[in-house]
Amino acid sequence: MAEHYDIPMPTRDQMLNLTPFFRLTPGNIITYIILAVGLVVTVMRFTLGIGAVSNLDDNYPWGIWIGFDLLCGVALAAGGYFTTVACYVLGLKRFHSAVRPAVTTAFLGYFFVVVALHYDLGHPLRLPYAFFYPGTTSVLFEVGLCVATYVTVLFCEFSVMPIEWLAHRFPILRIFHKLITKTVILLTIFGVTLSTLHQSSLGSLFLIAPGKLHPLWYSPFMPMFFFVSSMAAGASMVIFEGMLTHKGLQFYMDTNHAKDSKLVTLSFSRAASFILMGYFMLKLIDMIVQNNMGYLFSGYGVLWLVEMFGFVLLPALIYAKGARDGNEHICQIGSIITVLGIIFNRFNVSIIAFNWHLPAAERYFPSWHEITVSVFIVTLIITVYRFIVYHMPVLYEHPNFRHHG
C-alpha cells in the first residue's frame, strides 16, 4: 500500500494549500520579481506593438519567441508522449509513477507554447483563422492543427488530477474521471500519432528555406531529426524534472513514487543513450552524404561539431555510463546536457545558422524584452506546476482513486 507519510493533501474543508507561495524564500522572491517584470513587458507588447519590444525585423521574422518558446517548448514537452507510450502501450508498468508528472509538464508545456505564441503573432486573436481559411499546403497549418488537437488530448489526460482534487466538492466529475481512465490507451495512441506529426513538422517548417539555413543544418531529413531528438528530449526532461522535484517537492511524494524514481531515471537514461547515439549517427551520415565536409572547417563547422560532440555524443556516453553503474547522479548530469543540447540545436536551426550569409550587422540578437517574455513564460510554467503539485495527486496516489491509472 502506498505510504503517504504526511503529504499535505487538500480535504473537503481545506481545498487550498497556498502557504508555500507566501513563504519568503529566495525562490519565491525571484519568482515574483520575474512575474512582475513579465507583466509589465506583456502590457508593453500588447499596447506598443512587436517592433517596440523586440529586435525582430524583416530578415528575422522569427526570433526566440519561436526559436525558444515554440521549438524548444514543444520538444521539451515530449516527455508526455514518451512516458505514456512506455507505460500504457508497451505495458512497462514500472514507469507508472512517472506518467502523471510527465503528463502535467507536457500539458503545461503545450498550453504555454500557445500562450507564448500570442506574443509573437501580429494578430493573436485571429489564430483560429487558420482553420477557417485552411492553408493546407502549409507545414505551419499542420503544426497548428496537431498542436491544437494535442493540447486537447493532453488536457483530457491531465484532467484526472484536478478531478481527484475537486471531486470532494463536485462528485459529478467522477463520471468524467471514469471515462478518461477507460480511454487512456486511446488517448495515448492518439497522442503519439499527433506528436510524431508535429514534432517532425517543426523540422519541416524550415524545408522551404534551403537558401537561408546553413547546409550543415539544412537537410531533407530535418523532420526525422526533429522527431528523433524530441524523443531524447522527452526522456531527458523526465529525468531532469525528477531531479528537481526531489529537491523541492519531495513532501508531496508517496513512497512508491520515491522508490520508483531511481528505476525510471536509469531506464530512461538507457533509452536516451540509445536514441542520442542513433541521432548522432544519422546526423553524421547525413553530413557526409550531403557532401558537407568542407563546411566543417568554418566557424559554423565548429558550432556544428560542438553541438554534435558536446551535446549529443557526450550526453549519450554519460547516460550509458550512468545507466550501467546504476548511478542516478551521472544520469542527471546527462539529462541537463541533453536539455541544453536540444535548446542549442533549435537555436542553431531557427536563429544562429539561419540567414547565415547575411552580414554581421544584419544579424539578430534578442532584446531584453524578448528574453524577459521567455523567462516569464518559463516561470509561469514552474509556478503553475507547483500549484498543481500542492493541490493534486501528481506525485502521490490519491487514497480515493487508487489503481485508476
Binding site: 524583416d58 521574422p61 508497451l90 485552411p134 502549409s138 517532425s200 524545408l207 534551403p210
Partner: protein, 371 residues
C-alpha cells in the same frame, strides 16, 4: 524528380516507414495553376542607371509613407537595402568586375509562390494576370511567409501595434486591372523595365542576348529559378561568362551572386520541398494507430499470459501444500491422538495465512519490477 526532392521523400520516409511511395503523388501535385498568358516584367540590369525614379513612382502610386532620404539622394544606393513594409521596391548598387551596376528589387511574383504555399491562412493569391497579391484581412501575423520567401521580399509592419500586416509589391494589380502599366515600369526613363506576357519576355530576353552576346550573361534569372517567376532579370556579362552560351545556373552563379541573386534555389517551386513531408501525414495518421495498437495488443496478451501462468502455478502450490498438511496432521493424529492433531492443524493454517498476507504485500512491488 531531382535529387533534393528525392531526399526529402526519403527524409520523411524515415518517419513514415517504408511508405514513401504514395507520398510521391503528393510531392508532384502542382498546387498553383501555371497561368498560360500571365504577365511579367523583365529587368535589364545593363540598362539600369540607378536613378531611383521607379522607387519614387512606386511610393506615389501606392500612397506609401515618405522615406527619410528623398528619392533624389543617390547615396543610399551604396548601402545594401532590402524591401520593407513601406518600401516595396528598392534599387541597390553592385559591382561586377569593378564596374558598378544597379538592380531593382521587388517581389518576383513567383509562378508557384513560396509565400503562398507557406501561409497557413491562405492570404496570398497567384492571379491569372501573374501578380501575387495578399489579403490582410485574414492574416494572423505569423510571418512564416517571410521565412519562406527565398528573395527576402515581404516586410512586416512591426511598428503597428494593433493591425500589423505583411506588405509587398502587388505588381500594381489595381493599375493592371484598369489597363495601366505598373508605376515603376511607367516611370523608368531607360526602358530597363519591360512589361509583357511572360512567354514573350523570355523570347525578348533571348533575342537581346543573341544580338549582343558580349553584353549579357546567357542566363535569364527567373525563367526556372524557384519554379519560375513573373519578374525576371537579365544580368551583364562578366569576365567569366562573356561569350559563353547557355551557362546554366552553375555558370551564372558568380555574376548573379554579385548582383545579389541566388542560383541555388533549384527549378522546383519552393513549396514542393515541403510537400514530401506533408505527403506522409495521412500515412502516419493511418499507420501509427495500427502500429501502436498492435504493440499494445502484444503487451496486453503477454501480461495476460503471465497472469494465467502465475494463477496455475499458485493453484498447484496450494494443492500441494494442502495435501502435505493433511498428511502431516494425519500422522500426528496416529501418533499423538486427535487433540494434538487439532492444535497442529490450527498452527499450520495460521502460518500459511500469515505467509499469504506477506506474499501479497511483496507482490505489489514485485509486479512493478517484473514487467
Amino acid at each position: 524528380m531531382n535529387r533534393r526532392k528525392f531526399l526529402a521523400l526519403l527524409g520523411t520516409a524515415g518517419v513514415g516507414g517504408a511508405l514513401a511511395a504514395p507520398g510521391m503523388a503528393a510531392a508532384k501535385a502542382h498546387v498553383f495553376p501555371g497561368y498560360e498568358n500571365s504577365y511579367g516584367v523583365l529587368h535589364d540590369v545593363t540598362r539600369c542607371i540607378g536613378c531611383r525614379q521607379c522607387e519614387e513612382a512606386c511610393n506615389a502610386v501606392n500612397s506609401l509613407p515618405q522615406p527619410r532620404e528623398p528619392f533624389d539622394d543617390l547615396d543610399v544606393l551604396g548601402v545594401r537595402r532590402r524591401t520593407s513594409a513601406y518600401q516595396w521596391t528598392v534599387v541597390n548598387q553592385y559591382t561586377i568586375d569593378d564596374k558598378p551596376y544597379f538592380r531593382k528589387l521587388q517581389c518576383f511574383h513567383c509562378n508557384e509562390p513560396a509565400c503562398a504555399s507557406a501561409c497557413f491562412a491562405k492570404c496570398f493569391t497567384k492571379n491569372p494576370d501573374g501578380s501575387v497579391t495578399y489579403n490582410g484581412e485574414q492574416c494572423v501575423g505569423c510571418r512564416y511567409c517571410m521565412i519562406a520567401c527565398p528573395f527576402y521580399i515581404p516586410g512586416f509592419q512591426y511598428d503597428e501595434p494593433f493591425d500589423p500586416l505583411v506588405q509587398k509589391c502587388t505588381f500594381c494589380k489595381p493599375r493592371l486591372d484598369k489597363g495601366q502599366l505598373p508605376g515603376c515600369v511607367e516611370a523608368c526613363p531607360m526602358d530597363a523595365l519591360t512589361f509583357g506576357r511572360r512567354s514573350d519576355l523570355i523570347r525578348l530576353a533571348r533575342k537581346r542576348i543573341e544580338e549582343n552576346p558580349g553584353r549579357y550573361t546567357d542566363y535569364i534569372y527567373g525563367e526556372w529559378d524557384a519554379g519560375g517567376t513573373a519578374w525576371m532579370v537579365l544580368a551583364p556579362a562578366s569576365k567569366e561568362t562573356v561569350g559563353k552560351s547557355d551557362v546554366g545556373p552553375a555558370g551564372a552563379t558568380e555574376v548573379m551572386h554579385a548582383i545579389g541573386l541566388d542560383t541555388h534555389l533549384g527549378s522546383q517551386p519552393m513549396g514542393e520541398l515541403t510537400y514530401g513531408a506533408l505527403g506522409t501525414v495521412p500515412l502516419i495518421v493511418a499507420f501509427w494507430p495500427i502500429l501502436f495498437g498492435g504493440l499494445y495488443g502484444i503487451s496486453k496478451s503477454r501480461e495476460a499470459r503471465n497472469e494465467m501462468r502465475n494463477k496455475i502455478m499458485r493453484a498447484a502450490v496450494r494443492q500441494d501444500m494442502a495435501a502435505a498438511m493433511d498428511d502431516a496432521v494425519r500422522r500426528i493424529e496416529r501418533q499423538q491422538g486427535p487433540e494434538a492433531a487439532e492444535v497442529a492443524r490450527q498452527a499450520l493454517e495460521d502460518a500459511v495465512e500469515e505467509r499469504r498476507q506477506a506474499a501479497l504485500d511483496a507482490s505489489r512491488f514485485a509486479r512493478k519490477e517484473d514487467h
